[in-house]
Amino acid sequence: MSTSLTMAQAINQALDAALASDPRVMILGEDVGRAGGVFRVTDGLQQRYGEGRVVDTPVAESGIVGAAFGLAVGGMRPVAELQFMGFSYPAFDQVISHVSRIRNRSRHRFTAPLVIRIPYGGGIGAAEHHSESAEAIYAHTPGLKVVVPSSPSDAKGMLLAAIEDPDPVIFLEPIRLYRAIREEVPLERIVTPLGEARVVREGSDVTLIAWGSMLRESSLAADLLEEEGVDAEVLDMRSLVPLDVDALIESVHKTGRALVVQEAPRNGGLAGEVAALIQERALYSLQAPVVRVTGWDTVFPLKRSEHHYLPSPARIAGAARQLLAS
């Protein structure tokens, strides 16, 4: 049995399933209860599970994550929501100094199995601070798992896996995909293991590597390339930590060309890490240098200019053409 769902609905279904099956699971965040979340991702859950398990918090991100840390150490399985990635920074100290470290600091004695859900990325013409892609900062922090679904089914399966995970998981939700895609999602509980990339389109000429919001742009770019007779493979990394290096290298061995797409600014981004891994492990399979298509090293532009910033199918396809020509 399955039903057609958007990503927002699929996440809601995952949270519903987790709340129903595990009394330790609770949700906390700003406006997640009565209002159902600014993106309505938690819609209806407080009515179903009560104010004690779906908790509207004061506007205090450090408070949300710091309290969630204590709740997790104390035996609960909190799922904290930070409204936008640009508002996750006040909680950085809690995440970097404590959430990611308590297992190591206490040599496994105490653990913080919590999930921090963060809507991220641009493409919806939002106000400043509402369009950030700061995944690299989280991925750079030892002790965190960082995952990014790009489809409704993955969102459901990966969120359930994240909630069951014994370690803290940063769960990034691409805002522009919340309602952009509908997909048949199994009604039953599905768990998608974290740390596994997925080939969403098989191809032999070039590998387009992407995650989250850039997956759809890359797939659309592959459509454009197909019209020109180019057979592109599209790899959804899905998990940034741990990164599925084997899947990455296997694909590059096959195609001999790699193009990494990220929405985040280029400097110090994950695309650079992916490129480094490829040259360390698959250099002799490469027929051309690895190419990055990324956001620019600029502040994310406001509504009228954001299309200049965001990698588009045309920009990705253009870079792929150059790569194939070299």
Partner: protein, 347 residues
């Protein structure tokens, strides 16, 4: 000025009823003596290069032991690098506290079932952890609370506000125990906040704030016991400001001569929390030199044994730094672990 709650004056005179009898007073006095011996040992070991930086707490023993004595063994404790006395009294072994200061991660792992988080090195963030732990206990219908220790300096941090606010909103069973030792390293209390006292800040969070003489074991105990009983009965959090003084430096790397007046230090030395109880016990015929020597000898030998145990522990292997990052090591960490072992093997 808000009145400072006091039961026993610095010269050992009772202003009110002690909260417990002579036997318990002697037990807690002995714990304070042990704490001071440990503290001085810590500074000495640091000077000998056997510990990394050490943060002494001399002068704050009553604030720590008096409050910890009001807890039950299953209550959560979330404290700082200057709270070894409270942590030890609540069940964290001296040897592990020392191990942490030797720069060994294993010091952060208390024995199974001891509900004390490793000492917080960051300032302020840990108060929220106590709120979450207390909240988790309530949600799981566990009859336990959380106490968190912090200094006056931490009350300037945003997380102090967020922790107090969350605790107030969710009526979490938390005791906020501020050891106001008058300095945030070098910054005097009156330059940290324009508030008349720290205790009055509680008003803004809908909880009681209590100002006690932090060098008065009896007063600290009584205030904490009241806060504990309030928390256990569903009354929510309490802020206790225990007015005290750090007689030593901030850490072994600090020189208080740069920012403190020696006369002020001498004045506070005369309010020593141990001397106060000793005078009281002597007046009651419950203290003499022979007993003092006996407890010092016994506690010292326990501390020496802890030092020996900590120093006897074989060093961790290089592979250990990877072992506790996740429940299950990632492929990347396994590869890096092999890389390190190979590199060190070649060296």
């Amino acid at each position: 000025m808000t009145a400072v709650e006091q039961i026993l004056t610095p010269d050992g005179q009772l202003l009110g009823e002690p909260p417990f009898g002579l036997d318990e007073t002697r037990r807690l006095y002995r714990a304070m003596v042990a704490a001071r011996l440990y503290d001085r040992k810590g500074s000495a070991l640091q000077r000998q290069g056997r510990l990394a930086t050490y943060a002494p707490f001399e002068g704050q023993e009553a604030a720590q032991i008096g409050s910890a004595a009001a807890l039950r063994s299953d209550d959560w404790m979330v404290a700082t690098y200057r709270d070894a006395a409270a942590m030890w009294f609540h069940g964290y072994p001296w040897a592990l506290l020392l191990l942490g200061r030797m720069g060994d991660e294993r010091g952060g792992s208390p024995p199974e079932g001891v509900p004390i988080l490793p000492p917080s090195i960051t300032v302020g963030a840990h108060m929220l952890h106590a709120v979450g732990l207390a909240w988790a206990a309530t949600l799981q219908a566990q009859d336990r609370l959380a106490i968190t220790y912090f200094g006056d300096g931490a009350t300037s941090e945003g997380d102090f506000h967020e922790a107090m606010n969350f605790a107030g909103v969710y009526r979490a069973p938390v005791v906020f125990l501020c050891e106001n030792n008058l300095y945030a390293i070098s910054l005097r209390r009156d330059r940290q906040t324009a508030s008349e006292t720290i205790a009055t800040k509680a008003v803004g969070y809908g909880m009681p704030g209590v100002l006690v003489d932090g060098n008065d074991l009896f007063a600290v105990y009584r205030a904490t016991a009241a806060a504990v009983s309030r928390a256990r009965s569903g009354g929510g959090p309490t802020l206790i400001e225990a007015l005290t003084y750090r007689l030593g430096p901030h850490t072994t790397a600090d020189d208080p001569g740069r920012y403190r007046d020696p006369e002020e230090e001498a004045e506070w030395r005369s309010r020593d929390p141990l001397a106060r109880i000793r005078r009281f016990l002597a007046q009651q015929g419950a203290w003499d030199d022979a007993w003092q020597q006996e407890i010092e000898r016994e506690e010292s030998s326990g501390i020496e044994a802890a030092v020996a145990a900590a120093e006897a522990l074989p060093l961790q292997g290089p592979e250990e730094i990877f072992e506790a990052m996740f429940a299950e090591m990632t492929q990347q960490l396994r590869e890096q672990q092999r890389e390190l072992l190979a590199a060190e093997g070649e060296a």
